[in-house]
């Protein structure tokens, strides 16, 4: 009898029966707490092998805090070192001059291409309506790319922000990070996805309330839910265990674990 996906978790077996994409990963050390092995790309790939994660889409911590350009170089190097395993998010600090942002986007466009952008407005001490993100939105819209944002923050909250941005940029796919961080967040995220077809819900977070994932699948369907871990900001194993042991069909788990991300990010 074949193993169920839950069997992999309770026996600690690397998952070889699903294509797994960690659609929200980071890289490197962090000021706020210790990260094992400095969260190096090699340590991340070692962990991915242990769990059966095929691909991680990565934005380094340094890019999200003090040095976006250095972070973008780090992830480019990691992607070159581990081709097909580490895929870069391009990060932009909206406080940078428009010319610098345009140059960085052009650099990626001309070298490896851009799979997706990652925004972390709160760590960059602003919100997602900052005019410094305009170049990102314009490029993503022109190429129909996804953008993962820590939150879709701005005046009026995520509903208003997505309404504004989706009206202005009709081809962007909006990925709402940390959509399962508590019941109120789950309900608000589901409401967002129910209202806007181009919103996708990212599961990344340190905890998952009992029954929370099941509610999300029931409300918005497994097709628009993406599994991610925050690794190595957070150890990825609990996130994998939560998904593998969820009370939803294995076919839905496979979609959330990787098939949706593979399609959305064109991996």
């Amino acid at each position: 009898m074949p193993m169920s996906l839950q069997d992999y978790a309770v026996t600690g077996t690397p998952v070889d029966d699903a294509h797994i994409v960690d659609a929200h990963a980071h890289m490197g050390p962090y000021f706020n707490f210790m990260v094992g092995d400095d969260g190096s790309a090699a340590a991340m790939v070692r962990m991915m092998d242990r769990l059966g994660i095929d691909v991680s889409i990565v934005s380094p911590h340094i890019a999200l805090t003090c040095d976006w350009l250095e972070g973008n170089r780090h992830v480019a190097q990691a992607a070159a070192e581990f081709p097909g395993r580490i895929v870069p998010f391009v990060v932009v600090n909206p406080h940078a001059p428009r010319a610098a942002i345009d140059a960085e986007i052009a650099h990626w466009h001309d070298t490896t291409g851009i799979v997706a952008f990652k925004l972390h407005a709160s760590l960059h001490k602003t919100d997602t309506m900052h005019e410094g993100y305009t170049a990102v939105y314009e490029y993503a819209d022109a190429h129909a790319l996804p953008i993962l944002s820590h939150s879709w923050s701005g005046s009026g909250g995520p509903m208003k922000v997505i309404e504004t941005l989706s009206g202005r940029y009709p081809k962007i796919e909006f990925v709402n990070a940390h959509s399962a961080s508590g019941w109120a967040v789950i309900d608000a995220s589901c409401e967002l996805a129910e209202k806007f077809e181009r919103v996708h819900l990212d599961l990344t977070g340190s905890l998952l309330v009992y029954g929370g994932l099941e509610r999300m699948v029931e409300r918005v369907g497994a097709e628009r839910i993406l599994w991610g871990t925050d690794s190595p900001f957070i150890d990825p194993r609990p996130a994998l265990g939560r998904m593998l042991c969820a009370q939803v069909p294995d076919e839905d788990k496979r979609k959330m674990l990787g098939l949706n991300a593979k399609r959305l990010y064109r991996l």
Partner: protein, 253 residues
């Protein structure tokens, strides 16, 4: 009833609860049947439970309700909610500690929510009695803070203190305390530090981590995977999964 997971680990959940609470969601359970079903789905054999009455209403009544409800359920071990002795709301410390130990149970404290302090002037006699009996005490870090944890450990050697709810921003607090106090234990559920489980096992020993789920608040599969996928020897996994907690509760293996 014996429940064994497919990999032979004997899981013991140190942090679960039963009873209704103020804001349950439709997906969550409040009764023993719900808890046992959640444990059975993933192969958890047994565990410590406290009652929500003791947490959100009244500790003495909640502790009594707990004993009434778990009677006859061999898989459920009692986790009593304690109060400091000044107001005499629960049994005198020595009687209380002996009762808990005699039942193979543990103690949970909520100093912030229940409005008391872990300082000597308030709770010293309680902790003295629990230390004499070697009764494990569980506390969420949000109920006490790391300074309070250090103070209790310094003053009450012999009382195993299991810290809950600290998540992944903890090691700069936890490491010096693990180094200094052998009675400090960390629940595994919230220990989300990248490769943290391997680092703690290598530096302090696997017996310092204790498996927990926080059911019915949180999912069980996550904390289990943290152990099953750990790059540590099987005997260390067994300690974390339940071996150490059973030993602390006085169970003879």
């Amino acid at each position: 009833m014996s429940v064994e997971s497919p990999d032979g680990l004997r899981w013991f959940d140190c942090n679960a609860r039963i009873g209704p609470w103020s804001n349950p969601q439709l997906e969550q359970f409040t009764d023993i049947d719900g808890l046992l079903a959640a444990w059975d789905r993933v192969g958890i054999e047994a565990g410590l439970v406290h009652h929500t009455w003791a947490w959100e209403w009244a500790p003495p009544q909640g502790n009594a309700k707990l004993l009434e409800e778990i009677a006859g359920h061999e898989r459920l071990r009692p986790c009593f909610v304690a109060l400091p002795p000044g107001t005499r709301e629960i049994e005198p410390p020595r009687e209380f500690a002996a009762m808990v130990r005699g039942m193979g149970g543990a103690v949970r404290i909520f100093p912030n929510m229940h409005n008391w302090r872990v300082s000597e002037w308030c709770a010293g006699a309680l902790f003295d009695a629990l230390a004499e009996q070697g009764v494990p005490v569980l506390v969420d870090v949000g109920e006490i803070d790391w300074e309070g944890i250090a103070g209790v450990l310094e003053r009450h050697a012999g009382m195993p203190l299991i810290v809950l709810g600290f998540y992944y921003r903890c090691d700069r607090f936890a490491y010096p305390l693990l180094e200094r106090y052998p009675d400090l234990y960390l629940e595994s559920n919230s220990y989300g530090v990248f490769e943290g489980i391997e680092m703690v096992c290598a530096r302090f020993g696997a017996e310092r981590l204790i498996f927990s789920t926080a059911l019915p608040e949180l999912e069980a599969g996550g904390p289990m995977a943290l152990v099953t996928y750990a790059d540590i020897p099987d005997e260390d996994k067994q300690k974390i999964a339940g071996g150490t907690m059973r030993r602390l509760l006085g169970e003879v293996s």
